[in-house]
């Protein structure tokens, strides 16, 4: 009841924001934006949106509503001669959590102390690597939950507090991102999406929310990401290193009964180049889960090799296709296999996954139909994201789609989310 009321309220709010923004903005938004720029040199952007979604599969431990929210985002940028200031913040009224949240997605200063150095300090989003929605060497925090319930793709990446620097030495570029305190990715823990809990041996939700214990000491529980890149003609190559933690709680502290984030180092490389009329990419990484005792520690996810190869090109007029093959290999598999607790399902030594992306633009590119599919032939599971996006005008956008999970078994990577399939729609006004 309370939820319904809140949902109604937030929907109303969004409508109000929308119409208010709509009518007032039609005449005044331009002037406010311009006034900010003319008087203070501040560039302003933003949007207001509302989003609704429903579960397609019954799950007794979760709400039927998969998403119900009203959101506003404002971005302010001020360019000075020698530095740039940026603020980007979201205000979110969420009917599921029944809370209003503020999320700062950017608050940073960027400057160039010398010709060969770029520095950015503060809260920011970082991304690198060559995969399309498959991340090997990008260890920056994600928010898979947002991704799974139909929020804009932007929210797959979380902002984090970091010090970022780029060093430009001729053909070589060194990028370094230092996060003084581990943040970790937002993962599915039962609150709003259900998952398979190996301890319980079944799919659980709000009845068994995963408790985790994240490392949180400044400068001790820190993360360092580094990339060395170089372009050879059209071929972009890079080496990567990461020193930190698993981004999701891939370990268990049996003593306190909580999920933990074991230490992790990642070493990898990638290349991306035009090939066969499209763009090809290849990326590999070694996930050194060095507390796993060569796979003998049953409470910690073992080390892995990860490998990705992909290709994207235009298939027909305004139709683009992208295809990737991904392979995950457990290191020291014999050790791992022998230590799996009785009753637990051991993972396969090789996990293979294929992805496909199709994007079709229609009606002078105002309508985008897209489909992204993950499918694992070894796990017999997958996740599909059919979506549409229609730009009614330059300011108004309507979108919607499905998040469809399936799996032969409940314990596999995508199979564990199989009770969360949902459909969603959204309306956004940008200014």
């Amino acid at each position: 009841m309370k939820k319904t009321a809140l949902l109604a309220l937030s929907a109303l709010l969004a409508c109000h924001a929308g119409s208010g923004v709509g009518s007032a903005m039609a005449e005044e938004e331009v002037s406010l934006t311009d006034r900010l720029y003319d008087d203070y040199g501040i560039e302003m952007l933003g949007f207001a949106e509302t989003r609704l979604g429903s579960r397609l599969v019954d799950d007794e431990n979760e709400d039927t509503l998969s998403i119900g929210e009203a959101r506003a985002q404002v971005e302010l940028t001020r360019f000075f001669d020698s530095f740039t200031l940026l603020f980007k913040g979201d205000l979110l009224a969420d009917a599921i959590t029944e809370e209003v949240d503020a999320d700062i997605r950017g608050l940073n200063v960027a400057f160039r102390p010398s010709d060969v150095l770029d520095v950015k300090i503060g809260r920011m989003v970082s991304t690198w690597g060559t995969g399309d929605l498959v991340f090997i060497n990008d260890m920056f925090p994600k928010d898979w939950q947002s991704f799974f319930i139909g929020r804009d793709d932007e929210y797959l990446k979380q902002a984090s507090n970091a010090f970022r620097t780029g060093i430009f030495l001729g053909d070589y570029i060194i990028d370094l991102v230092y996060t003084p305190r581990f943040q970790g990715s937002e993962f599915v823990k039962g609150e709003r999406l259900s998952y398979f809990n190996p301890g319980a041996g079944q799919i659980v939700g709000q009845n068994m929310v995963m408790a985790d214990n994240a490392p949180d000491d400044y400068f001790e529980d820190d993360e360092t990401s580094i990339r060395l890149s170089r372009r050879f003609g059209g071929v972009e190559t890079a080496l990567y290193g990461y020193m930190g933690f698993w981004q999701e709680p891939e370990g268990m502290d049996a003593a306190i009964g909580k999920a933990i984030y074991p230490r992790l180092n990642v070493w990898g490389a990638s290349a991306r180049s035009p090939v066969l009329g499209g763009i090809g990419n290849i990326e590999a990484g070694y996930y050194d889960s060095f507390d796993d005792d060569d796979g003998r520690n049953p409470y910690i996810r073992p080390s892995e090799y990860r490998f990705l190869v992909g290709f994207e090109r235009e298939l027909a007029h305004e139709l683009t296709g992208g295809f990737q093959y991904y392979l995950e290999v457990i290191d020291e598999y014999e050790n791992y296999e022998q230590t799996v607790a009785p009753g637990m399902e051991a993972r396969d030594e090789y996990r293979q996954m294929l992805t496909m992306r199709l994007t079709k633009l229609l009606m002078q590119q105002t309508l985008t139909l897209s489909l992204f599919v993950y499918y694992s032939p070894t796990d017999q599971d997958g996740y599909a994201r059919p979506k549409f996006q229609y730009k009614v005008t330059d300011n108004w956008l309507v979108d919607g789609g499905f998040n469809l999970f399936w799996g032969e078994d409940e314990h596999t990577f995508w199979g564990r989310f199989q009770d969360n399939s949902n459909a969603f729609v959204g309306v956004r006004y940008s200014f």
Partner: protein, 267 residues
Amino acid sequence: MKKAIITTTITACSLFALLVTSPVMAAEPDVEEIVSKANLAAYYAGDDGKAEVNMTITDSQGRERNREFIILRKDKEDGGQQFFYVYFKRPSDVSKMVYMVHKHMNKDDDRWMYLPALDLVKRIAASDKRTSFVGSDFLYEDVSGRNLSEDNHKLVESNDTHYVVKNIPKKPEDVEFSSYTVQIDKKTFLPVKAVYLDKNGKEYRIVEAIKVEEVDGFPTVTESKVTDLEKGGHTVSKFSNIKYNIGLKEDIFTERYLRRPPREARR
């Protein structure tokens, strides 16, 4: 949208027009010389350049959409390799996105998109040159120029003011037109009107220079228009704050500046 953005770039490029060669010639130049000079005039004015572009897309029902972006261009050599950097301002959902092209002569162009919300540098396949630039009636190829070697050229008319050149694609299966005819101004060598014929020989598309002004000594198209005779829509691009030879450094056209737009790309 991403693709749409790409398309936009093209238009902008064509705007940079240019160049002057001595208009007075004793004998009629041959057609290869004419198209080569027109190419330089339209796409290679100065060693580099900058323009603000305001594009209005009108569909067959009169609905308007708007695009605003800044385009930076640098030539490696006249008639040869070029770099383009397009910084989007409007509409706001594409604001701060960057589209970058390294245009090559003997191989496919290299293209990148930068999406600031995700901090994502995306590489884009270059096979689709005849698709719409940012949802407008301009095509990529209108913006950055069609490679001269892709067509056979024939001088069909030479009057007091214009050369008229007919262009027939060497690989008709790769394009949607059967031929196009371009009017080239004899004084400036700027192409001022191109009419495209479809596979049945019917006119379906017109690209024209509406306004030409001299900027920093270079005859420059400051307003251009594409009309889609088939669907009934049109797009008008207006160029302002045009500058040539501003000393753009080559490293502006690298990943470093995708993440951090150069001063020249801001308003």
